[in-house]
Symmetry: C2
Subunit: 197 residues, 2 copies
Amino acid sequence: MTTEEKIFNAARIVFQRKGFSGARMQEIADEAAINKAMLHYCFKNKELLFKAIFMNAFGQLAPQINDIFNSQDSVFDKITKFTHSYISFVILNPYLPQFIIQEMNNNPEFVMSFMKNENRPNPAILISQIEREIAEGIIKPIHPKQLLLDIFSMTVFPFAAQVMMKGMIQISDSEFNEMMEERKTTIAEQIINSIKN
Amino acid sequence: MTTEEKIFNAARIVFQRKGFSGARMQEIADEAAINKAMLHYCFKNKELLFKAIFMNAFGQLAPQINDIFNSQDSVFDKITKFTHSYISFVILNPYLPQFIIQEMNNNPEFVMSFMKNENRPNPAILISQIEREIAEGIIKPIHPKQLLLDIFSMTVFPFAAQVMMKGMIQISDSEFNEMMEERKTTIAEQIINSIKN
DNA sequence: GTCTATAGCCAGATAGAC
DNA sequence: GTCTATCTGGCTATAGAC
């Protein structure tokens, strides 16, 4: 593993746990078992290091989502594929959702400044498709954007709020993971059942 | 409005937008149109000011939730009441959910250190009740904790991730509020339909 | 490329006048 | 109680040896 990779991995861990303003360059250096000066040698400054981490995180998620949203599948198939592949992915990167949500809340201009359009999940095609399938009588007359909110809520929230929810419903890390495995299939069934004609 | 109240309101705005580590005492002072030294005169230091804000935020939400969870209502009624009253409340305090989730993620020990047990939402009674109603055949055989996750996901997520979701599905603040008004009733119906026998 | 040492700045906190 | 001015510590960033 190169030094740059060691720094990158360490930075991901620290940024995802503490956020941009809570992260300390020293903590990242310690995590990478490397000197603090190397961070600046490799990534110039904190903002650029953060940018690299954030874009990498977002760049892993967005294309997956767009691939599913823009495929030739039916809406029902898209819902099934989305919940399954999203949960499979974030179960391996559990801090990713909260990290992205948090930084977009805390510093929208900063984050937007380096978010490219092609890297943004774009549900426009899926929304038209939902309207079409409603017109065709396949789907009940619901608001497409509410449906999108439902899908994201059910899949993303448990990860985004996992510390709070683990505390509230009293579950361990392994129980949490089991529950998420179960959700891979149940969420889609539930949502599809509630909208199919 | 007393000076202390002015500080408190300003601090709430800044902390909820930037989080503990992103917030600056100077920014809070500016927001309160007051001198920075007054913050320390009134609240001693940043941590104590934050603690006051966080406990107030949490203290407004938790009792409401517990009242509903521990009432004599049926599970279906509790779901209806919860979604309605939660959304009504956070629509007026839209940064609250993300604030609480974020700080619990970034600094669990710090937050836990001043969270009292009585102020924590406790779904234990509701969980037993769900199990009972499943045994009685009122509710389908589902996992009670999954049901709780569903309820919280559907109600809380749109607020917690509102900056991201507003950007993604392209809606304005007022459209967002309209959608949340709609969700007050639709979420409960949807969830109840998916679990009733 | 990797380190030590340090510069420079910024934010939290305080002293002290009024 | 409210302000101005200032101290102090910590954090980002750099200079410079090896």
